[in-house]
């Protein structure tokens, strides 16, 4: 592999991607300045599907607008210079022996993917994140590869303790350096981890048929960028293979499988320019030269794709109602439909979540909600003073809110299950939930009552209750409930997400003070 300018640029962006990925975590400060969301905010596929679905503008996606304009001018450079998944494919492809290209992926296959995705967006189902290359890469890393890295390192460190005990402390500084700067803080297992990784591995396996198979035949982002690139005034000259040479067919990673360069597939890697034995090749601005084929795909594909999107958009909206009662979204999400229009399912909120409360929905939110974030209080709760998920969300599906505002956003409401909760079911003291409730005036309180214990003796027990008006559904009560398996208090989804009002909170403060 020659170290061309494009290659160096690719490596820089891959490194940037990895650094930002690791940075997308709480590292001692309330704010994350730079996160891996930058890649999504500069992603035209995210931009187009957002505009079509939400039918509104967000300044968060301004970089993607710039990228769109840059592609219109320069061509499909993103794929050859920036895309971290493309870089990974370039790195591994030489190790994979090639057979013949897959016929089924040729022709208009990619349009049959892109068009239904965009048209479904128009019908309010934003599924582009499912096939967005950066989202695919990020999900595989978040849900499996990064946890595996953490688990292996930590198990090694723990194993060392089992062998040498306290003496391990001499190595502690080196380990803590790695732990504090590279490893995830705690080990988390995610649903859909295998599927997410299988998709990434599948894309790599496609290299068996031809180089950049995914990029040129499937990737909806690449297809969109390729389509934009057709308007670019810059073109490679000559457009076709030279009759006396044909070296380009070997040098080109994407396009020259026919004899003519297909402009929508050229990723501007400049391999041909640098490898040409005759120095005949140049990229220059010329309005006359056009890439092969019409500007729009055939009408059949266009209409079929649009119709496909509509057909897709309706049936996958089905949801089992009983799952909805526990469908808890990250803080600040007030409207499920609005959320689904904006969420790109990139997994960043789940990566950054301080208490690992967020997990990708597998079936809970129906087919339409696959990979969208879901708060599972028994596994983790929403930390009262934390606002990280809103900060890293690339589209604002989870709004970025000041901490005082976020604390009043309602995720759900806690409800006691008196058949399980100890003071009710077993007539003994507990109220761990009250202790942990972060609302300064306590959304969980208790009162002393005389009850007959299970042994027949009358005793005083503290019975907890929820003050629903000031419960924000953070889920810490359910998380810390000392009952095994099922908790005695659970957070349920609500339709009304009106924030807790600060004034109610203030008034409640006085009455239950023990200090008079």
């Amino acid at each position: 592999m020659k170290l061309t300018t494009a290659r160096i640029c690719q490596f820089i962006f891959l490194a940037l991607f990895l650094i930002l990925f690791v940075q997308t975590e709480y590292r001692g400060r309330d704010d994350i300045n730079a996160a891996v969301n930058s890649f999504f905010r500069a992603d035209p596929l995210v931009l187009f599907s957002y505009l079509l679905a939400a039918k509104s503008w967000s300044w968060l996606l301004f970089p993607a607008t710039l990228m769109t304009v840059a592609t219109l001018v320069l061509g499909r450079f993103f794929c050859g210079w920036i895309c971290p998944l493309g870089t990974i494919l370039d790195l591994v492809t030489s190790k994979i022996r090639k057979t013949t290209p897959l016929k089924a992926l040729k022709g208009n296959f990619k349009y049959w993917l892109l068009l239904p995705l965009l048209s479904a967006s128009l019908f309010n189902i934003n599924l582009s994140g499912l096939l967005d290359p950066i989202a695919i890469l990020l999900r595989a890393m978040t849900f499996l590869l990064y946890p595996v890295l953490g688990l292996v390192s930590r198990e090694g460190w723990v194993g060392l303790y089992r062998i040498i005990g306290e003496r391990r402390d001499t190595l502690a500084p080196a380990y803590s350096l790695i732990r504090d700067n590279l490893l995830p803080f705690r080990d988390t297992l995610y649903p859909l981890a295998l599927l997410s990784t299988a998709i990434l591995l599948g894309i790599i396996a496609l290299e068996r048929f031809e180089t950049r198979n995914w990029c040129r035949n499937i990737c909806p982002l690449g297809t969109l960028l390729g389509w934009l690139a057709r308007f670019s005034p810059f073109s490679r000259v000559p457009q076709a293979l030279c009759s006396d040479c044909g070296q380009c067919r070997q040098l080109c990673p994407t396009s020259f499988d026919q004899d003519v360069l297909r402009k929508e597939e050229c990723v501007l890697c400049m391999e041909c320019l640098q490898g040409c034995p005759h120095e005949r090749i140049s990229f220059r601005s010329s309005l006359k030269l056009k890439g092969g084929g019409p500007l729009l795909p055939e009408r059949r594909v266009l209409l079929g794709g649009m119709a496909g999107g509509l057909l897709l958009a309706l049936p996958i909206r089905f949801r089992y109602p009983e799952k909805q009662s526990r469908l808890l979204r990250p803080p600040g999400v007030r409207n499920e439909d609005d959320f689904l229009k904006k969420c790109v399912r990139c997994g960043e909120c789940m990566k950054v979540c301080l208490k690992n409360a967020l997990y990708p929905a597998a079936y809970q939110a129906g087919l339409e909600g696959i990979y969208t974030p879901l708060l599972i209080p028994r596994l983790g709760y929403c930390e009262y003073n934390c606002t990280l998920c809103g900060q890293v969300c690339p589209t604002g599906a989870i709004p970025s809110l000041p901490v005082e505002t976020k604390q009043r956003e309602v995720i759900g409401k806690a409800v006691f299950d008196k058949n399980h909760c100890l003071p009710f079911a077993r007539k003994i003291d507990c109220i761990v939930c009250e202790e942990h409730c972060p609302i300064p005036e306590k959304a969980i309180r208790s009162r002393e009552v005389q009850v007959m214990g299970l042994d027949g003796l009358v005793r005083t027990v503290k019975e907890p209750y929820v003050v629903e008006e000031i419960c924000n559904g953070c889920g810490i009560c359910e998380n810390v409930c000392p009952l095994e398996t099922k908790a005695g208090i659970e957070v349920f989804a609500v339709k009304n997400h009106t924030p807790i009002s600060p004034s109610t909170v203030g008034q409640e403060a006085k009455e239950s003070s023990i200090y008079h």
């Binding site: 709480y26 109220i431 403060a509």
Partner: protein, 294 residues
């Protein structure tokens, strides 16, 4: 009794006398509680320590010391949910000055430990100090310990405490929904692992069980500001009272008993204190506790 037996008995008595006297004195001294007051929290912490005999009495050169503050909550200093960082730092400095080889500061937190360590101000206050460790809990270090208590037969305790030469308990004085107050005796929960919520069903006995096994050589209660309601994590300035006091004692029950009075309550109102007293872990009767103003 023949002469030989008499001489033997007298000799033994004479030999043992100093030890017996010391024991008797120590028992009296146990109920000494030092209270220092003032706006300079580091200074009053030092004064309180000096009044109970100085740190050299507890920490010998080369010792490994665990200083266990309460930093269980993601609350900033002003909310009185965690021990004041200046108090913790002063205690740590005294340990180092007494010749401690290493001082370890940690807590098994309730909120996310990274946020607790940062937001309590304690991690920051100890940053860069030589010979001081402020590490997060590593779960593999919990060891199942036979407590043979009344309620807890065994429980997971943190090995750094079990292996330390000196254990200094530095709680903050605050309200608690279940135990009314949380002071020194309850601060021990921060060295416990496992499903800690389980012990809430018999908290008083459980805490006596653990405190009987892990003795606090010195208890320093931070009452620079106290949380009077909505404990143990509070979150509202209206619930905080500034008292500018630090309390020190070798008797954890006596320290707790005295601190209870700051809330306008009696030691007998606090079941945790009563259970520990009945277990023989210290003195809770205020008239048998000698309070020294440092």
């Amino acid at each position: 009794m023949d002469r030989r037996t008499f001489i033997k008995a007298t000799g033994t008595a004479l030999l043992l006398a100093p030890t017996l006297m010391k024991e008797a004195l120590a028992a009296r001294e146990h109920s000494l509680v030092a209270v220092a007051e003032g706006g300079d929290y580091a200074a009053i912490t030092r004064k309180a320590i000096i009044a109970v005999g100085g740190m050299k009495r507890f920490v010998k050169p080369g010792d490994v010391v665990v200083v266990k503050p309460n930093m269980g909550w993601d609350r900033s200093v002003k909310f009185a949910a965690n021990t004041h960082p200046l108090v913790v730092r002063a205690v740590v400095e005294e340990c180092l000055a007494a010749g401690a080889k290493k001082v370890k500061v940690f807590d098994n937190t309730c909120n996310d430990s990274r946020r607790c360590y940062v937001n309590s101000g304690i991690e920051g206050a100890l940053k860069g100090m030589k010979g001081v460790e402020c590490k997060h809990i590593e779960t593999e270090r919990f060891r199942n310990v036979a407590l043979n208590g009344t309620f807890l037969k065994e429980w997971e305790l943190y090995d750094e405490v079990l292996l330390a030469d000196v254990y200094i308990n530095v709680p903050v004085a605050k309200h608690h929904g279940l135990s009314k107050l949380t002071l020194g005796l309850k601060n021990i929960m921060g060295i416990m692992g496992g499903n800690r919520g389980y012990i809430h069903r018999n908290l008083d006995t459980a805490l006596a069980d653990v405190n009987a096994h892990v003795k606090s050589h010195l208890t320093i209660i931070d009452a620079t500001r106290i949380l009077t309601a909505h404990g143990p994590q509070g979150g509202s300035i209206a619930d905080v009272r500034v008292l500018n006091k630090v309390i020190a004692s070798t008797d954890i029950v006596a320290a707790d008993a005295y601190a209870t009075t700051l809330f306008g309550m009696k030691p007998s109102d606090i079941p945790v204190t009563v259970a520990a007293y009945k277990r023989g872990l210290g003195e809770m009767n205020l008239d048998k506790i000698k309070v020294v103003r440092a």
